[in-house]
Amino acid sequence: MKGIIFIQFTKKVNEVWGEDMVEDLIEQADLDSEGVYTSVGTYCFREMVSLINVLSKISGTSPADLQKTFGEYLFKQLSMKYPLFLEGKKDLFSFLASLENTIHVEVKKLYPEAELPSFEYVFPAENIMEMTYRSQRPFADLAEGLLRGAVAHFGEKIELSRQDFPVEKGSKALFRLTK
């Protein structure tokens, strides 16, 4: 997982719970990196899992809700940092459709070692988009949060539903977006 995600995570924790919480999290999570992150570095996704679990224990908020909340925040931060990926996208569907074949391709060019989730798209009707999310990591909730962040960014009235699928490793979910 790229360092930028960890940096944004600690930033969000700092904003909501204060800097002491960040220190507590780092101390209790027993991280290989010891909480030293650079945005272009790559770190094990388990550190993020540990951080969320520790934060959940301390804050009393479920890990799923924490992921979703962080996902929404993360989308906003990334959209400000990388506006290029949103340029020319007139609506949510066109942006989401570009994730797999454009944005992930560009990310892979910059970070060949990055392990990205995959998306499959189906349009059962003109106003419905179904995205199947697959990842080797347990971050379907984070993905949902990112999707909600995207919905908020485009300001469209979208109904988002989710169906999880049991998988041996990682996560798989079907997101259905209806206009």
Binding site: E19, E23, E34, V36, Y37, V40, G41
Partner: protein, 453 residues
């Protein structure tokens, strides 16, 4: 220690931890930056190498394409030209940039466009390879015959056509020349056979002609003697008549004289014998000429009587000119014997004289034309001028007359070899010169000069 100090210490400790993480993060970032910079440098080096290789490959492909003697044209499915090689630029006479985007069909002769499109469709459908011939327009408004083979290739998800165009104008010219050469060889063989036959016949005719001539000469002499005796006999008959002697015989003789018209016989028989002698002399002359002409001998030079040879040639070719021209000869007696290849020189005179007759024939012969042949002895050369009052030649014809296979005569009459052979015999074999002076509608003169030694 108060709560305030505890809080302060905790804050300082937190800040120190954060500072320590930030310093280590910066070190990590610097290491990452350094390794990324190295990676980038290596990638850049590889990229430069790849670019150079690509450039070299492209240059090699271009060199290969441009070394192909056939025209290579790449078009899209709409037949719009995307690329051509150097040969194509040469064939169509249009610069590279001027060809880009134009339809290849613009260069195909109108009546063949549908066939060309059909060939392209067949190639697009990957049907059997076909080579077809088309005429391509050139910048000067002419057409170039070419064989065309079309194949397809795929690039960037698009299908393109590759037109291989082979200019076959040279091949066709050579084919035509080969056919003409074969025809010429066949004619030459035929004429050689005819010549041999004529030589044989001439030899066979020569002997009886000889004794017919001798016998006629003998008969002429005898006739004079017989007439002398007859005159004496008639004087005797007259004396008998006057003396009243042998009157029965005298009457019978008078009857016979009247019945056979003795006066007519005495006048006509000598003339008949004389004309017969002249006729057989002419036969002998022609036969001798044919014999000389049909036995040109070797390719080696030997002393050759040019005046006599021209005379012989005129005799042999008389049938070609006798009804359309008169022949005037002005021979210099000092020409003497000149080292020549006899067969070759006979061929030269015959070709030029026959051409002169044809030129007069083309002009039309309301009045008889004239073929004038003059020979002159120069310092170390002999000059032969053969002139005619025929149609003459325009400059564009004159410059080609010595080229093999060039002819202005209708199909089947000329092979375009006659004057080429003349030029070869005079210039190459005799180290002489041949010049032409001509005026359209007035006539032509061939001026030949042969070294005397």
């Amino acid at each position: 220690m108060c709560v305030c100090d505890d809080d302060k210490d905790r804050k300082i400790a937190t800040l120190r931890k954060r500072l320590s993480r930030e310093v280590r993060a910066r070190e990590q970032a610097e290491q990452l930056l350094e390794s990324k910079a190295l990676e980038l440098f290596q990638v850049n080096q590889n990229l430069l190498g790849s670019i150079q290789k690509a450039k070299n490959r492209s240059a090699r492909v271009n060199a290969i394409m441009n070394s192909i003697k056939d025209s290579v044209v790449a078009t899209n499915q709409k037949m719009e030209i995307l690329d051509v090689n150097k040969s194509c630029v040469g064939m169509w006479g249009i610069p590279y940039a001027g060809l880009m985007g134009r339809s290849v069909l613009e260069f195909v002769e109108n009546r063949q466009i549908a066939d060309y499109e059909a060939l392209c469709l067949s190639a697009s459908a990957d049907e059997q390879d076909e080579i077809k011939e088309f005429n391509f327009r050139t910048l000067d408004g002419g057409f170039v015959p070419a064989e065309v083979k079309i194949s397809t290739f795929q690039h960037d998800d698009e299908r393109f056509l590759l037109h291989l165009i082979r200019n076959v104008s040279n091949k066709k010219r050579l084919q035509k020349e080969r056919e003409a050469m074969q025809e010429e060889l066949a004619n030459a063989a035929k004429w050689e056979a005819v010549g041999q036959l004529a030589g044989g016949i001439a030899h066979e005719i020569n002997t009886p002609a000889q004794y017919i001539g001798d016998n006629l000469h003998f008969l002429s002499e005898c006739n004079e003697e017989i007439l002398e005796i007859l005159n004496k006999a008639l004087e005797l008959k007259k004396a008998c008549e006057q003396n009243g002697q042998y009157l029965d015989y005298v009457q019978e003789i008078d009857r016979l004289i009247e019945a056979y018209d003795l006066e007519y016989l005495c006048e006509e028989v000598p003339q008949a014998l004389k004309q017969s002698a002249q006729g057989i002399a002419q036969v002998s002359h022609i036969v001798r000429a044919m014999k000389n002409f049909s036995h040109p001998g070797t390719e080696e030079k030997k002393p050759f009587d040019i005046n006599a040879a021209i005379d012989t040639t005129l005799t042999v070719s008389r049938n070609e000119w006798k009804n359309i021209a008169t022949v005037v000869t002005d021979f210099d007696e000092h020409v003497g014997l000149v080292p020549c290849i006899p067969g070759g020189m006979n061929q030269v005179f015959l070709n030029i004289i026959v051409n002169a007759a044809h030129a007069i024939d083309v002009k039309g012969h309301e009045t008889m034309g004239e073929i004038r042949i003059v020979t002159r002895k120069l310092a170390d050369q002999v000059e032969i001028v053969i002139s005619d009052t025929g149609c003459g030649m325009p400059p564009e014809v004159v410059k080609n007359i010595f080229n093999p296979f060039f002819t202005t005569k209708e199909v089947g009459r000329g092979t375009g070899q006659g004057l080429a052979i003349v030029n070869d015999i005079i210039v190459q074999k005799h180290k002489g010169t041949i010049k032409v002076a001509t005026k359209e509608g007035k006539g032509t003169s061939f001026i030949i000069r042969i070294p005397c030694k």
